[in-house]
């Protein structure tokens, strides 16, 4: 019993330390500049409480549009990456040819290449073939994210017995129907796990979109946050409200998908 209380108290203290940055951000986002200056640690007082920060940050970030841009890119990327990676992983597992093994190794090995190594030639090359657009960005995400997804799918499909597919083939089922109506449904759980990890990565990414999308009005939330910060460097009243608004979507997403994220990390780490 005593032990349980000790654990509980330790946990409570650590929990507070971990939440402190978020707490302080939210508190100050409701204060005027003067309020932050006079008392940065406490709750907003009656005379320093304001909602103006949110109103202004909302406008400056062009919030709805940036949010929709991020959402569009994240969702389309996730759907395409999952589809092409599931297709590739399936044939990698079912074909035990030399070509299959070598290409799979190249995919896996490429995960050692740091982004900075590909960044400059890719941007130079992309501007030549007209890939500096949202479509181009999504295409690049497909190329970058497919390796990780293939590896995770590969590990999962290995444990699905082939008999079902063989039976369906004997009954005259073609490749595409076989994949869509037999293989994909069996992969449901792993698809959700990979989707969640993928969504997190794309939503939070800053560097790649900053190199590819430079048109006003097409920027994603992280890009807008960066520009916003450059503009209002020492305006912490506006900045804290802006930061809270940018964090909110991903934290809400986290509350709903926690289970899958934990599963994804555990499975990914074991590989």
């Amino acid at each position: 019993m005593k032990k349980k209380i000790a654990y509980g108290v330790t946990g409570l203290i650590l929990g507070c330390i971990f939440l402190f940055p978020i707490y302080i951000l939210i508190m100050n986002s409701f204060k005027t500049t003067k309020g932050i200056f006079t008392d940065v640690l406490g709750f907003p007082a009656k005379e320093t409480f304001t909602l103006e920060n949110y109103k202004n940050a909302f406008q400056e970030l062009d919030y709805i549009r940036s949010f929709m841009n991020s959402l569009l890119i994240t969702v389309v990327t996730a759907v395409l990456v999952l589809l092409i990676s599931a297709m590739a992983a399936w044939v990698f597992v079912r074909y035990k040819t030399k070509a299959s093994k070598i290409i799979f190794l190249i995919f896996a090995g490429s995960m050692l290449i740091p982004f900075q190594c590909v960044m400059l030639p890719l941007v130079g090359f992309a501007s030549k073939i007209g890939l500096l657009s949202r479509g181009g960005l999504i295409f690049m995400y497909m190329g970058f994210q497919t390796s990780m997804a293939i590896i995770m799918f590969h590990g999962f499909i290995k444990n699905i017995p082939e008999e079902l597919e063989e039976a369906a083939t004997i009954d005259g089922c073609g490749s595409i129907r076989l994949f869509i109506s037999i293989v994909l449904p069996l992969m449901r759980t792993i698809i959700v796990t990979v989707a969640v990890i993928n969504v997190m990565g794309t939503w939070n990414d800053f560097l790649l979109p900053s190199l590819i999308i430079n048109k006003q009005g097409l920027q994603t939330l992280p890009l807008k946050t960066y520009l916003f910060f450059g503009q209002f460097a020492k305006r912490w009243d506006l900045a804290s409200a802006g930061l809270v608004m940018c964090m909110a979507p991903i934290i809400i997403f986290y509350l709903f998908s926690q289970k899958y994220i934990v599963k994804g990390i555990t499975e990914g780490a074991i590989k």
């Binding site: 589809l83 590739a88 074909y95 490429s110 030639p121 992280p222 960066y226 804290s240 934990v262 780490a269």
Partner: protein, 289 residues
């Protein structure tokens, strides 16, 4: 069963094409560019300069070597702290007490937020909150954060521990849960105290997870970019610039794309070296077990 070649290549094609255009071709072009004076401007001529860029990394411009040393020192400290804290958190939340599950969620949460937002958030804390705290209590140590190399370094370290230890916690929880209760029970019956239980039962059985945690944290500390850009911008005077930011700055700040690409190749060798070492060690461990 008849398996057609057409199906294999047909299903592989979409990901293989995207992967080749986005990763393989640029990597190959990158090796070529690292041997030129490419400045990134479309239409300007690119001259072949041999290994001059690689020589320059170590002679003309000492910023890369400095960034490397800074990154290496940072990574060593970050790896130790992140894994210690992560393991401690994992031990705590696998105990049975009320709120343990909620705590797991809280400890992991910082991981969800992008590095850029985290960097800006901590910039606010180090600059405004610490300053206010210093004024209130009169402790000078909390004043002037991020304005010199030491506080910039410690600041990055605090941010990293706050962000990554929750991730390591999840990795360690998975391993802790695989230790059978009966083994611990048997040790207790044999009269092992909690320290002996930890030292002789739990720690040895945790080794596979430590290998994973170690390499996960070392490669993410080495590749860190967003947090560095948002928290310190590498300042003051480039003294807290890490490798990824250094490459970025010599390309987009100084327009020396060829030179930056040569640095990127050296970076690739370092990161790949770490990754391959991990593979070798993990494989050897598997044989032993």
């Amino acid at each position: 069963m008849r398996k057609s070649k057409l199906r294999f290549w047909g299903f592989l094609a979409p990901s293989l094409i995207a992967f080749c255009i986005v990763v393989i071709i640029p990597t190959c072009i990158g090796f070529f560019y690292s041997l030129t004076n490419w400045n990134g401007i479309v239409g300007s001529d690119v001259k072949f300069v041999g290994f001059q860029n690689f020589i320059d990394i170590f002679t003309r411009d000492d910023s890369f070597v400095h960034a490397f040393l800074f990154t290496a020192l940072f990574s060593v400290c970050a790896v130790v702290l992140v894994n210690l804290v992560g393991f401690g958190l994992a031990l705590l939340v696998t105990q049975k007490f009320r709120g343990a599950t909620l705590l797991r969620g809280i400890f992991f949460m910082p991981n969800m937020i992008g590095g850029l937002l985290l960097g800006f958030t901590w910039q606010f804390i180090f600059i405004s909150i610490f300053e206010a705290f210093s004024k209130k209590t009169g402790i000078a140590a909390f004043s002037g954060w991020l304005s010199n190399t030491e506080t910039g370094f410690i600041g990055l370290l605090i941010l990293t521990v706050w962000q990554m230890s929750g991730y390591m916690m999840i990795v360690y929880i998975a391993q802790i849960q695989q230790i059978p209760e009966s083994v611990k029970e048997a040790a207790r019956i044999d009269g092992a105290n909690s320290w002996q239980l930890m030292r002789y039962i739990i720690l040895p059985l945790m080794m596979p997870a430590f290998t994973i945690g170690l390499f996960l944290s070392i490669s993410s500390s080495f590749k860190m970019f967003d947090q560095n850009l948002a928290l310190t911008q590498g300042g003051p005077y480039k003294s807290t610039e890490m490798i990824a930011l250094n490459i970025y700055n010599s390309a987009f700040g100084a327009n020396e794309f060829g030179f930056a690409q040569a640095k990127a190749i050296v970076f690739l060798i370092i990161v790949a070296g770490i990754g391959i070492t991990q593979l070798v060690i993990t494989k050897r461990k598997e044989v032993e077990m």
